[in-house]
């Protein structure tokens, strides 16, 4: 679980409750509830999961089990500029791994982590459907194609410079 304890404000708790209500508090809608909560809060910390579990009357372990099963759900807040490297096959054969290693080196974080200053986070995607531009890197909504390890520095600087 995430190491930082957070304190949810009452309005945030209310927001979670209203999301659960909008799906009729039905167990079968758990994944939809989680999608909605993640798009509201940016991530799904343990505290949010606990509120969901109480409201929907299911064990917290079940909520946690579902959150951790699916890679789309994250318990760590994403950086201000989330960096995603496509590691689909087309990108892999065109050198995505060396690009990924360069990002790790420059940002000093591993995949799935966020920089201490919260500016960047690093994750991998499997094919964003731009195989023609492989290897592909996305920063937020912006897509960079044919990225070489030497380009990494410039990409990072574009957001910090």
């Amino acid at each position: 679980m995430s190491s930082v304890k957070i304190e949810l404000r009452q309005d945030q708790v209310d927001k979670i409750h209203s999301i659960c209500d909008s799906f009729g508090n039905q167990e079968g809608e758990l994944i939809n509830v989680l999608h909605k909560c993640q798009s509201t809060f940016g991530y799904l910390p343990a505290e949010v999961q606990e509120v969901i579990s109480e409201k929907m009357e299911m064990p917290a372990a079940k909520v946690y089990g579902v959150v951790t099963f699916y890679s789309f759900f994250t318990m760590i807040p994403k950086g201000k500029h989330p960096i995603s490297i496509c590691t689909g096959t087309a990108c892999y054969v065109r050198g995505a791994e060396t690009v990924l290693n360069e990002f790790k080196k420059q940002l000093e974080i591993e995949v799935g982590e966020t920089c201490e200053d919260g500016i960047f986070s690093l994750s991998c995607l499997r094919c964003v459907g731009a195989c023609g531009l492989a290897p592909v890197v996305q920063v937020g909504d912006k897509t960079y194609g044919r990225v070489a390890p030497d380009d990494v520095k410039g990409i990072i600087e574009a957001y910090t410079g």
């Binding site: 994944i31 579902v66 459907g129």
Partner: protein, 494 residues
């Protein structure tokens, strides 16, 4: 695909992609103008469900999601299972890394899928359909929502469709990034809000699926073919393709090839036609080495398969499979051992962990490959790879584990010498496995400045001042200090 020349276009037939890039997917009238929803009208007013199912059977349409099960037969099973409620599910989870056919259809022609789902609903006796789509496809989701809304306004979804008394509606369910959820039983558990873990079949979804009710699961591309088949007839469709595989298949062509992108070719087209005619050959004039089909469940085809007609049976016979249609082309610079490791890496990450052969076995397979890529492999590891691979295939619970060793076994079969050179000579001939590369001084570039020799911590560089230097590979510890010091690009890895 205007960038293809006319000659190349002749090899392609667009059935599933017939409207993609041609109509505005957000305007239902444009779909209708191209015979959209006419097939649904035909089915509702002029055919009995049995007749429609017979037509589908006669057409020979097989599932495009991977397994290639005959669509008409599947519908027939779901129809014959009596229940108060049945469901139609469209599998739009598209998890194969490096494939995006389904997404293109949903984004470019969402109504074709909606229309087909309603037709399936009519055939099996269901009034509710769900599209299980990955949350990572926001544009496809937006287009589907618009399309569903418009179809409802036109009375093409909802109650009493076209005055026939038939009710059918469609809703979306979202995936959340788990490859195994493409497997139909896992998909159904995920739809129910659970962890997407597969269960044993039988019972098949056609008997007990979503909410325990008979459920018919079809892939996006399978569905996109349905309306055309109904309008043009089974005979027309079955005239395209090979004896056992009818119609066309969409491939996402990618990798070291000149024309990347989606192509749709008749079943039975050869690999040579796909790669050298449609794909424009290998990039930078390099040599073709292999084409990987079937993603993490598939295998690779090589030079000797270039003239084999591509269909379900031939691919399986050659150690690969159709899969969803990703086709990754590789050239002489690609290392087959590391490609196998890449797929195993994916499988290990995506295994749901429910059964031991897949959870533990694939991890061990991956470790073996990792060792080989690092130059720590032994010849006996090759025997271990094969034995373990066979066991995993035989004993895993679902299709993921049952097919996960394929990329390893197939590359071992086709490129035994490459595996051998990794474990015996500790060499990676394509220069991909960096741990197997050696530092080397290019004589022509070296001016003999001695900078490298002074930097080398183990003193393995010899040579007189102003003479070319030499690295002794037996004692070199590959620290890279020499390369960093050399100002003349004389030190290289090879």
């Amino acid at each position: 695909m205007s960038k293809y020349s006319k000659n190349i276009n002749k090899k392609q037939i667009r059935i599933a992609l017939r409207n993609c890039g041609i109509i505005d997917p957000e305007i239902i009238e444009e779909y209708i103008a191209r015979d959209g929803y006419h097939a649904l009208g035909e089915v509702l007013t002029r055919q009995t469900p049995e007749e429609t199912i017979e037509l589908m059977k006669a057409s020979g349409l097989r599932g495009r999601g991977g397994a290639g099960f005959p669509a008409g037969l599947k519908w027939d099973f779901a129809r014959k299972n009596e229940a108060d409620q049945k469901y139609v599910v469209c599998n739009a989870d598209e998890g194969d890394p490096g494939a995006f056919m389904d997404r293109s259809i949903l984004e470019g022609d969402p109504h074709s899928v909606l229309e087909a789902m309603a037709i399936v609903g009519r055939c099996i006796g269901s009034d509710m359909g769900y599209i299980y789509i990955r949350a990572e496809y926001p544009l496809a989701i937006a287009r589907l929502k618009i399309a569903i809304e418009q179809a409802r306004e036109y009375g093409l979804l909802g109650k009493d469709i076209l005055g026939s008394g038939f009710n059918f509606d469609i809703d979306l369910k979202y995936g959340a990034g788990a490859f195994v959820c493409g497997e139909e039983t896992a998909l159904i558990h995920s739809m129910e809000g659970e962890r997407g873990e597969p269960t044993l079949k039988p019972p098949f979804p056609a008997e007990s699926g979503y909410m325990g009710k008979p459920t018919n699961v079809n892939n996006v591309e399978t569905l996109a073919n349905v309306p055309v088949i109904i309008l043009k007839g089974a005979e027309w469709f079955s005239s395209i393709g090979t004896e056992s595989s009818k119609g066309t298949k969409v491939f996402a062509l990618a990798g070291k090839i000149n024309n990347v992108g989606l192509i749709e070719v008749p079943m039975g087209t050869t690999l040579r036609e796909v790669i050298f005619e449609i794909g424009g050959g290998i990039k930078d004039g390099k040599k073709f080495k292999a084409a990987q089909t079937g993603g993490p469940s598939g295998g690779c085809l090589t030079e000797k398969h270039l003239d084999t007609p591509i269909d379900y049976e031939n691919l399986v016979a050659n150690g690969s499979m159709m899969g969803s249609g990703g086709m990754i082309v590789m050239d002489e610079d690609d290392c087959m051992v590391s490609i196998a490791r890449f797929y195993l890496d994916f499988t290990v990450e995506e295994s749901c962990g429910k059964c031991a052969p897949c959870r533990i076995g694939n991890k061990r397979l991956h470790e073996l490959l990792q060792r080989i890529c690092e130059g720590k492999g032994e010849e006996s590891d090759l025997v271990r790879l094969r034995n373990l691979g066979e066991v995993i295939k035989d004993t895993s619970l679902c299709g993921l584990g049952q097919s996960s060793p394929n990329p390893v076994l197939s590359t071992m079969d086709n490129f035994p010498e490459e595996y051998l050179s990794h474990v015996v000579d500790k060499k990676c001939t394509s220069g991909v496995c960096t741990d197997l590369l050696e530092y080397f001084i290019v004589e022509e570039n070296c001016i003999g400045c001695t900078a490298c020799a002074r930097a080398c911590p183990v003193g393995c560089i010899s040579g007189e001042r102003k003479e070319p230097h030499l690295i002794n590979p037996d004692t070199c510890i590959k620290c890279g200090a020499c390369m960093e010091k050399c100002k003349f690009d004389a030190v290289i890895l090879k």
